[in-house]
Symmetry: C2
Subunit: 149 residues, 2 copies
């Protein structure tokens, strides 16, 4: 069993249209499963306000979880810092990635942590793939793996 087994959930907006990125996302989710369960909840895209309401409803189903919202104004972590951040959390973590128009302010207020992947703007599909790769990298690092060198 993995040393740091985690239950994480990723809440994202909109089905991925780019099949190549989707297949890479699936691949990282499969690899993540060595370290615990990673559920992905995809909510339908709409306007930012409606997407926000749907995200808040989803968060209300799991009130004990720590909520991390990905947004450009969030804190940037190095991979090692991100890994250390996850290590310190003693409960389920829910990560949120918005749609093309970003996250509703109500979701950002509800989050325990805002996090940025980069100062640069990525498409939300690319952000989803990059994030899952980083999550795999961070959990692999915590478990003493050699993926991150």
């Amino acid at each position: 069993m993995a040393k740091y087994e985690r239950l994480v959930k990723l809440v994202a907006i909109g089905k991925m249209r780019d099949r190549l990125f989707e297949s890479r996302c699936q691949e990282f989710v499969t690899r993540l499963s060595s370290y615990g369960r990673c559920d992905i909840v995809v909510l339908p895209d709409s306007n930012v306000a409606n997407e926000g309401k749907a995200i808040l409803r989803e968060l209300d189903r799991d009130k004990g979880a720590l909520v991390v919202a990905l947004t450009e104004e969030g804190r940037e972590f190095t991979t090692a810092e991100f890994s250390g951040f996850i290590e310190k959390v003693d409960r389920r973590i829910i990560f949120i990635i918005g749609g093309p128009f970003g996250l509703d302010p109500a979701v950002k207020s509800r989050a325990d942590q805002l996090m940025a992947l980069s100062k640069m703007t990525f498409t939300h599909e690319m952000a989803r793939m990059i994030f899952l790769e980083q999550l795999y990298r961070a959990l692999n690092l915590l478990n003493g793996g050699s993926y991150h060198h």
Copy 2:
């Protein structure tokens, strides 16, 4: 003709093994061609020192160019800042992305600018794809396109 027509070159190490990422890279290069020529030079992977020598030889062929090396300790740009940076450069720009083990210090010293895509560590293949998408995004922005909103 594009308003800011650019001649850029990307020097990268190693053939891409991930065909999905390679196909996305090709796609961004094609889209970039609306804004000028973007040559990609792929040098064989080896050890960091040999890769460094090969990169320096490549740079010597084009001494008038501005050299930007991608490395984690470089400056982070927002997409708008990156676009503004490119706008100010009045000559050819050569971007360099190393292999899995990074760039030789001699290459970093030779560069006019060090640039980081993120604080996080990406695979060099993913970095190549992310970079090309950002370059397209920056040039589209300079040319008044609507890709970056």
